[in-house]
Structure formats: C-alpha cells, structure tokens
Symmetry: C2
Subunit: 112 residues, 2 copies
DNA sequence: ATCCGTTATCGTATTTATACGATAATATCG
DNA sequence: CGATATTATCGTATAAATACGATAACGGAT
C-alpha cells in the first residue's frame, strides 16, 4: 500500500489514530469494561470478550499502542487499566473535532 | 477471518462503526473540510486531499455508507455535504461513550 | 450528436487487520 | 524445584483496507 497517512495535519492524524483504536467493537468493549470496573481486571477481560485469548491479547496490545490502556504484565496475572492521561487526550481530541465540525452550520440542503 | 463483530452490544457496535469511519486521516480531513466550507464542495475535495481521485472517491463512499456524508451525484459536478442527522447521531454516540467511560473514576494506579 | 470535464467504478496490487491454535514465557503455589 | 495457571507471542490463514491507473458513465457545452 504505502501508508500515505503522513501528509495530513497532525490533529487530523490524531483523530484518525484514536478513532482507529476504537474502530473495533472488541476494543470499544474492552475500554468500556475497564472503565466500569475501575480496578483493573486481568484475564477477566478474556471471559467478557467473545473472542479467543490470543485475539483479545492482540486487541489489548493495539489499545496499549494507542495509549488508551496501560498494562502491567506480571506473568500469571497481567493487569490492565485505562491510561488516564491517554484517554483524556483521546477524549479531548475527539471532542475538539466534534465541536469543530459542529461549530459550522451544517447545511443539510447542499447544492440545490 | 470471520467478522465476529456481531457478538457485541449494539451501542458498542455503533461506536466502533463510527470510529472506524473516522479512522483514516483522509476521511477525518474530508469531514472537517465539508464542515468548514458549509456549502458542499464537489471535486474540490480531491484537490485538498493528497490522494488520487479514485482513492478519494472511495473514502467518500465509505463516509457515505457510515452515514456521515451525503452525496448527490450529477455527472459532471458531484456534490457532497455532511449528513446533518448522521453526524449528530455520530457525535452523540461518541460523546455518550466518552462520558460513560469518564463517569467512572479512572484509577491510574491499577493493580499495585 | 459529439466532445469535455468530472466522478464513479473496475481491476489489481500491496498492506494491514483479524482471528485462532499452538507454543513459549513467567510468576505463583505446592 | 516442579507443577500450574495466566498471558504474550508465533505461525498461519483469511478478510478487509488502502491505493492507484485505467476505464466507464454521465451531464453539460459546443
């Protein structure tokens, strides 16, 4: 392909990166689950997500790379929790984007 | 693969679907551009996005399928604009998700 | 009716994402 | 130390996404 994603403005890049991280229901579910159980759940995530353990582990890795989740891997019982700072940045980025779009009047009847 | 995305709750599914639609900087840029120029721009989008015309057209299709953008194709000068209702739904879905996560205390020191 | 400019689609190639079984790694417990 | 439980990684297969050139389709202008 070519990953020509570098020709865009940084803020749009951030929006896209964060959005992509949530762009799979399993990852959205993981984030929500980690939030609802504020203490970080470990392998319990695997039980909640209807996917194989290896697949869940990979989704967790994706979330970690996106900075939304932190994980302490201690052999038998790994430990994941939301990355407070990372999630805050994400939320701010997304809200700014949404607000920015809605700051303009969205003409519904375009090109009459 | 198997697209086992159907085993998740509907709201998470929506979050993921919308997030995925924004999960590419070109699409985020298109949405932002359509918002900033409230009148719908037609082929101008291609000039703004640093990608080939065919690729931009496909991204537009993706956005249209996600319900974020509306397009009137009239031969020589197609016309795209934000889908006001669709974008509102998206914004609400995303904000609900963010709010829901932040409604819980995000324990930063997980599993001590 | 023909040409022209614009846009969508097709065909294709490459990369990335998704998924799972199998295996390795690692800390805890007996 | 050995057994066990948990998790990450590997190998692999398949699907989806991304990208572009080429071509078709289409309305408007000549």
């Amino acid at each position: 392909m070519l990953a020509k994603t570098s020709n865009f403005e940084a803020d749009l890049q951030d929006v896209a990166t964060f959005a992509k991280a949530l762009g799979h229901p399993a990852r959205a579910a993981i984030v929500q689950h980690l939030a609802q159980n504020e203490s970080c759940i470990c392998g319990e995530i695997v039980d909640v997500i209807p996917l194989a353990q290896a697949t869940v582990s990979r989704h967790l890795k994706t979330l970690k790379e996106a900075g939304l989740v932190k994980g302490e891997i201690d052999g038998p019982r790994s430990c994941y929790c939301l990355d407070a700072a990372g999630f805050a940045r994400f939320a701010a980025t997304m809200r700014d984007f949404l607000d920015g779009v809605e700051a303009h009047p969205i003409g519904d009847q375009c090109c009459p």
